[in-house]
């Protein structure tokens, strides 16, 4: 199992290339992409910032939790940092298992926990106003 932080947009195939195991009949891959809208506003791009050592260690905890809860064979997660364009891949989660049930459930668990627990922050750039850090209650003054 592997958790990593990487500069710039990701490539799904490169991230999941290590997920090979002849016992496995199922691979589930989640790709989080920069979309051109969020909560009704047009987004032109964004930056991710991470506290890398804690993001990696907390990500490893999430992967280990998934492996304890489901009989998966391997799992990987890579999260991007830096400036990303619309359509760029910000995070990839890949899981392999003998059967699809565990692969789907573990992949969903991992991305939910990754988004909620890792010290990674997103600053969106908008068509109609200054950039804002997502999930902070007051707008950042640019």
């Amino acid at each position: 199992m592997k958790m990593a932080i990487q500069q710039g947009g990701l490539d799904m195939a490169a991230v999941t290339a290590s997920l090979q195991d002849d016992r496995c009949g199922a691979a589930v891959v989640f790709e989080g992409r920069v979309r051109n809208h969020n909560e009704g506003r047009d987004v032109t791009g964004l930056e991710y910032e991470a506290h890398e050592p804690l993001a990696v260690s907390e990500g490893e905890v999430v992967l280990a939790e998934a492996a304890r809860r489901w009989p998966i064979r391997d799992a990987v997660c890579v999260h991007a940092v830096g400036t990303l364009e619309i359509g760029a891949v910000a995070v990839v989660v890949g899981v392999i298992g003998d059967h699809r049930g565990e692969a789907f459930e573990a992949a969903r668990f991992i991305i939910d926990e990754i988004k909620a627990r890792l010290p990674i922050w997103k600053r969106e750039h908008y068509v109609d106003g200054p950039a804002e850090w997502v999930n902070c209650q007051r707008p950042v003054i640019d």
Binding site: P53, W121, I141
Partner: protein, 80 residues
């Protein structure tokens, strides 16, 4: 009085206007350290779900701090 190294991340860095400050303070907990920062940085505030770490380990707002500790303030996360 003791020295606490404070580091601000993401939105906190923008609220404070700096990424770090060395505090001379009698703060006993992480919460006290944040209160001292509020005094020093008038645009700083604490959004719900903010997180903290002490010496590179996730911690609580009630975690005790000692001379030489490094306290990291993390605004609400938004990965993925």
């Amino acid at each position: 009085m003791h020295s606490i190294q404070v580091r601000f991340f993401a939105a906190f860095r923008e609220f404070a206007g700096t990424d770090a400050v060395l505090l001379e303070t009698d703060a006993e907990t992480v919460d006290d350290v944040f209160e001292a920062c509020l005094q020093q940085f008038p645009r700083l505030f604490r959004p719900e779900a903010s997180l903290v770490a002490v010496n590179e380990k996730m911690a609580d707002w009630s975690t005790a701090v000692r001379n030489g500790d490094e306290v990291l303030f993390f605004p609400p996360v938004a990965g993925g």
